[in-house]
Symmetry: C2
Subunit: 439 residues, 2 copies
């Protein structure tokens, strides 16, 4: 039986998960491919020995030792972050190794260099685990939906943020309280910025957009708002409108330009994305031939991520064995087909909106607000007024029909300087259920 | 650019859908593969000419004419049914052609012959469209989840049955009335037996089990109950228990034996499968490394099915072009690894249950029923008594904790001969949410 040798850089949570998967599934992988996948070498700067079940694997503290080992076929990078991960990946490619990584930050920021180098060296780069954890979303997009123009991508792509929003929704408690609890339970990191501010989600959306549309994009091109400003009162009002608040990545394909945004979104309960709870992820594609497809599963975790990395290793191993390296382009489109496509300016975005205006409870206030919205062409769908009391502000909560972002910003600027308005209006975009019908 | 030539047998709804997809996506497929996919020939006994946009395609009334054409690389069978489809597929394989089919009846009944012939001839058989319409479920199972022992399969795999149950649930109307309406709207066929009696679902479960477990199975091995006996009153009671009734295919892997069953099932509303409505399909896998994954999308239809068939064509085209035919075994496991695994006898199945007992409203009835259940080791979770009236039977509705099928049958046999019980007890299996934790 032909043996494919894997070198693993980083034996942390995900790295040790991969090692366990390759060991526990070794026989199954042989039965499914006729190939023996061998974890030949591990590089980790913090270790002096590997757990005893990996006695057949060599440990080194120097990644170069692994990258330059002629026996290694595939280098798996699971240390995360930009450096030294990029150096290791580029060195491995230069040494003619195929690469597998789960590093969405690296790919969404430095992908262009990495994929260009891989194409020049004739090696493959697998990154199934970089989006949606254990969900086979990259393979589905590149191969299963190959005969589709992707019209939209919408997804819950960060388990930590979704876990926090789910608990805020179910228990009616503050963001800060849930975050603290999540950190204690290990569902959120000590520095949760990437997860709760939508940056991690933007990394993943950039990767999906690259493949879906065949375009150059980095996460810096994506307008990103997180969930740290979401308040329980807005979650409660969302419920009254039949919605749940979710941190969504959204991209719609307008052909000449494409939307790219990450923000808290009010999702109608009838939409499957509203039912995705806890640390799970779900990615929804609309394709011009297939229609709507949703893929759901664990968005992170040692073993689910190990499952996805192992699938990439197996894919590359099959190509090595069959002599079919490069059979499917790493980014779904051939390198020469990857284009620059403009991102839709955020001001031009149109969607239904939720506003929560804090105002003194005086006659004429609603009329004044409605007048300003009307002047800017914003049509009200429904209004709820809550919190009536002798003194102090009330909440005037409004859902609108589809309105342009630029009109909304202009209208709210006028509303927020009304003398009766006591604090800046909270605005949350709503999912446009007609979004599948693009342009 | 290398050209791959496709011959299509059957230009009905799905066949013409594939033709449209290959035409509309031709440029995209080239950009993604560097290959030109050409629909060279169509065989259809009912046509005299093809629509004008297919002017580059030759029409024949004789499938042999296409099968034996040396220029054809891939034969796509989209006529459905067992014969002459099997003959065409076997002839194509014998002629050294790769085959793509959406024919679940054929594969679940005659798959053993077909895959053996394909292995002997060194050709590929693609069948993504046979399960879950446009959802990339076959590819996900074979490749994306390759590093998993599949512990369970649960799914809504028939859009017609799910459409009927959804409308019965939303509108409170009878099966027969919805069916009639569905037939008029084109959601159900004139003879709906395969769809509503669970046979089509069993075909699909057999295909998934073959690949998930690497086993020989036909749909005849699967205990199958349809939805024609489901009554609105049971849907209403299900709601009171926080459940929805769905036609599920269920298989759990016990290692030495595997469950295989299709039946109406009460699904807790908290489970995503309860939220799958209308003609959509969803397939839920539990893998030992990945955990829970669900794939959702259109389960049928001209263009979604075309999307899946085109993905298979592209996959095979890449293998032809790269010289990597056979890169992934058709059935996920190498042919020599496919085993006979016993099906769990239905009597040994354990799950929670729903019973609706029609009985006279007399003192002591519930005590008698509870006594019989208790004697058979069946533990009651909750009881609802409805329909109290001066004369005539009441409904005693019971949900149970997990109980063995054999115990349930024995207990109900005793209950149904009680003098106060007026008609046979309705029993519906409930989804066991602990099912992911197998044995």
């Amino acid at each position: 039986m032909k043996t494919i040798s894997v070198g693993l850089i980083g034996f942390g949570t995900v790295g040790s998960g991969l090692a366990e998967v390759l060991l526990s599934q070794q026989e199954r992988l042989e039965q499914r491919s006729g190939l023996s996948i061998r974890l030949a070498k591990v590089a980790d700067i913090n270790m002096t020995e590997l757990p005893p079940q990996f006695s057949g694997t060599v440990l080194t503290n120097d990644a170069a030792n692994l990258i330059n080992d002629p026996e290694i076929d595939i280098v798996v990078e699971l240390i995360g972050g930009i450096q030294p991960a990029k150096t290791f990946v580029m060195d491995a490619i230069a040494a003619g190794k195929h690469v597998v990584t789960a590093n969405k930050a690296l790919l969404s920021q430095e992908g262009k260099d990495i994929f260009a180098a891989a194409a020049a060296s004739g090696v493959e780069v697998g990154f199934e685990a970089s989006v949606g954890g254990g969900i086979p979303v990259i393979k589905s997009l590149k191969e299963g939906l190959v005969a589709n123009k992707i019209l939209s991508i919408m997804g819950i792509m960060n388990g930590t943020a979704n876990y926090i929003l789910t608990r805020m929704t179910d228990e009616g408690i503050d963001f800060a309280d849930v975050l603290k609890d999540a950190q204690e339970l290990g569902f959120a990191e000590a520095d949760p910025t990437y997860d709760v501010e939508g940056i991690d989600t933007a990394h993943k959306l950039a990767i999906l957009m690259t493949m879906a549309y065949g375009m150059n994009i980095t996460h810096n091109d994506i307008v990103t708002e997180g969930i740290s400003q979401v308040e329980p009162v807005d979650i409660e009002f969302a419920r009254e409108f039949g919605c749940r608040i979710k941190l969504l990545a959204i991209s719609r394909n307008h052909g000449e330009h494409v939307e790219a945004r990450v923000h808290p979104t009010m999702v109608p309960e009838s939409h499957l994305l509203a039912s995705i709870n806890g640390a799970y992820n779900a990615i929804h594609f609309t394709g011009d031939t297939v229609g709507n497809v949703l893929l759901y599963g664990p968005g992170a975790g040692k073993m689910p991520t190990g499952s996805a990395v192992a699938a990439d290793v197996m894919d590359i191993a099959r190509d090595i064995s069959c002599g079919s390296v490069g059979r499917v382009p790493s980014l779904s489109y051939l390198p020469k087909e990857i284009q620059d496509i403009p991102i839709t300016p955020m001001e031009e975005l149109s969607c239904p909106w939720y506003f929560r205006i804090s105002a003194r409870d005086e006659p004429g206030v609603l009329a004044a607000i409605a007048g300003i919205l009307s002047k800017h062409g914003i049509s009200i769908e429904s209004v709820i007024q809550k919190g009536r009391q002798e003194s102090g502000p009330v909440s005037i909560v409004i859902s609108t029909h589809i309105a342009r972002e630029s009109s909304v910003l202009a209208a709210l600027a006028e509303i927020d300087i009304l003398e009766v308005v006591s604090s800046p209006t909270v605005k949350i975009r709503m999912l446009d259920e007609t979004a599948a019908a693009i342009d």
